[in-house]
Symmetry: C2
Subunit: 439 residues, 2 copies
């Protein structure tokens, strides 16, 4: 291109040149550039059970619900689906029912804001909580890059809290909250994924969940609980109650996604924000209503057609996603076991390669004795035909991390085998190439 | 409620207590509280031609397009519709074709970002352009409240530019740009709706469009052209070329919406951003790609299912929305003529009531010789059964404006008659109640 330039990146909001935003782009580019590589990178849901006819069927099911259960006339139902609509959404009552059925979480449907995927839910919460330049967010590290990126967009600094094998280091959380206050800052909330976290795979135990809630109350922090993977335990140990289920003091803002449990193509998620907010006029309302005001200026409302698809899927299974995902849950659990067994077979002890053994979810973290960076990922894609995610992308300070994330969600056992063979070849060549550095 | 309060509005981003964000809420509340009132307030599209079967049919049409025209396998097509997808969208090529067919605007499909309605497009552009505290936005007044609200969310001050009957006062635009610079600020862009603007109904003539483009180049401003109503001229004078069609210097960022031309319930809009942006690394890319990075942290991508519905609607009419909206265009034109004739009949000269006579679009502004405020709207709803929009909502400084906006888009001629009868009764009672103030 030889036409003149119109703008410089430096003339745009600094977020556009931020590693958090470029990271997503880079990973997508690699995947697009090597479409035939086996992808142990993608966190997409499993496709085997997708049904071409489902969107039509679910839309129809939800339309019937509007007429038969909610008493709308056919004309009103058409308006609900086709026109502009309620900012907080039209499937909020089904979301509340789902939380009650699957999670034992009982919330006022008015405290639910249906969003354009969980990403918009994060964005709305962070936009609301960033009142001024003293506000900071704490986030358990390693952190989902979508959270870090959304924080960048609202100029909200993120301070990491150690995660560790227990899912969150409570002493470090207290320490970081106090340190922030000592620095003249106001820590507003801590972002945490208590179940099979992305990317660490770690889960927080029941006793620590209760301690975390106590600590949040003591330190006057909100907890932003993100729970995209909670439905997918890999073993027989069952599921733990969410923070929101244990939350008796309204410290938890709960983020939900239907991308992994119904369809990513609908882009429907939600936030439960039942916190009571005092207005300047003395009135008291729900945080959900403040988030809705922000949403009205970001996306107006979530696509009614997309919501209807999700609503119909919920109705088809009496609002239980546990029931709706019987086959998917089995596939993820099978894949997780297959990946862990495959790693054990390829890297038998004593091996310098180690990995986590998550109790569920999509992700395993593999630690290796050599530098893992974007250049290595490119070489892995080009020369070995296998994709994974460098763990450095999930740390905000971009210090090198000699680990990579493997995902089991969008592959078959055969693809896992092929991907692990290729990964093992890469690892062997890297180990040959340079001796492990003294550590 | 007697439970304790968890937060105060003062602890949240100031936008949540801003008039621009509360305004939308207030107007929705009034409409919900008096659902049986005749609404000359709603800017929703006309419903008579909605077809329950259309979403299914359009989705199917787009799926066929993926397979037959783009060569995707059935499995790939399913993935395109059901999975996470391209940040910039999957109907970008059809948007580009539509712009070529209907507007004579020829853009690289890569310069198109498909968004969650036009609102997200606005939000992305303003977020990108607000690089720091010196940046300000100019906007033709009166201004669509969604623009003002989005600007609040990114802490971008908006300075009004006089609109007037010509649609934009070019001398005032130059003056405001220079005054901003004199104040040490950096005016980034001017927001303008050149065709049948919301709320003024005004349009910019062809000569002024060319002058506006020259002025933008001279003052180094971008023009943010918002064009939701351009397809709906009321008379026989035809349509003028958009600013983007006349834009030879890439000064125009073009915002489009399918809410008025296909379906609001899909929530699909787009932005054309073909400006060339120099990166820190010396590379040059499109502004669209910078906007996409921001989008990836706001909504990830626009619902593929919603995009497919819009894509199918475009394909069904060879990408011409002019063709697709033959009946709707006639209905809006008929309603506009009916409203203007109805006003002339009810307020014959000499009358203290005056109104605009727009050449198309949805909106007429009626000026009256008494105070028009939210309290009057409430009384109009409760006692007279007619809804309209106080023009003060479209002025950022909230000075009283003795005018109201009437919309013809979501009503029948019979409803227009009924609404105008009720409005005339309100006006008569207000004129009786207090003599017109000296002006």
């Amino acid at each position: 291109m030889d036409a003149p330039v119109d703008l410089a990146v430096a003339d745009l909001h600094p977020a556009v040149d931020d590693p958090a935003l470029n990271s997503m782009n880079f990973l997508n580019e690699v995947a697009q550039h090597w479409p035939d590589a086996v992808s142990l990178a993608a966190g997409r849901p499993y496709e085997e059970f997708f049904d071409d006819d489902a969107p039509r069927r679910w839309l129809e099911r939800f339309r019937r619900h509007l007429v038969e259960d909610l008493g709308q006339s056919p004309a009103q139902a058409q308006r609900t689906l086709f026109q502009y609509g309620r900012t907080k959404g039209i499937v909020h009552h089904l979301v509340a029912r789902n939380l009650s059925v699957d999670e034992g979480v009982h919330v006022d449907p008015e405290a639910v804001v249906v969003t354009v995927g969980c990403q918009e839910a994060m964005f709305l919460v962070l936009r609301a909580l960033r009142a001024g330049p003293r506000d900071v967010l704490l986030a358990v590290a390693p952190t989902y890059v979508g959270l870090t990126g959304a924080a960048r967009l609202v100029d909200l600094p993120v301070r990491p809290v150690a995660g560790g094998p227990a899912g969150v280091d409570l002493a470090d959380l207290r320490e970081q909250a106090r340190r922030a206050r000592d620095d003249g800052l106001r820590p507003r909330a801590c972002y945490v994924m208590p179940d099979f976290a992305n990317p660490s795979g770690a889960s927080i135990g029941l006793a620590d969940r209760r301690r975390l809630l106590d600590l949040a109350a003591e330190e006057e922090l909100l907890l932003i609980e993100d729970n995209p993977y909670g439905l997918f335990p890999a073993g027989d140990q069952g599921r733990l109650p969410t923070l929101k289920a244990l939350d008796t003091r309204r410290r938890v803002v709960y983020l939900g996604s239907f991308a992994k449990t119904v369809l990513p193509g609908a882009r429907v998620g939600y936030v439960v924000a039942d916190q009571r907010v005092a207005g300047a006029d003395g009135g008291v309302g729900l945080l959900a209503d403040q988030l809705a005001k922000i949403k009205s200026m970001v996306t107006v409302n979530t696509s009614a057609l997309a919501q209807a698809v999700i609503g119909g899927a919920l109705l088809e299974h009496d609002c239980s996603l546990v029931t709706a995902n019987v086959r998917e849950r089995a596939a993820y659990a099978r894949n997780m076991r297959h990946l862990l067994a495959g790693l054990a077979r390829r890297f038998p002890p004593p091996s310098p390669v180690t990995w986590t053994a998550p109790a569920g979810g999509f992700f395993v973290v593999v630690t290796v004795p050599f530098r893992v960076d974007d250049a290595l990922l490119r070489r892995s894609a080009e020369e070995y035909g296998v994709l994974w995610t460098p763990m450095a992308h999930f740390y905000d300070d971009r210090t090198p991390v000699d680990a990579l994330r493997l995902s089991v969600s969008a592959v078959t056992p055969e693809q896992i085998d092929l991907g692990l063979d290729r990964l093992a070849a890469l690892v062997a060549d890297e180990l040959d190439r340079a001796p492990a550095p003294a550590r």
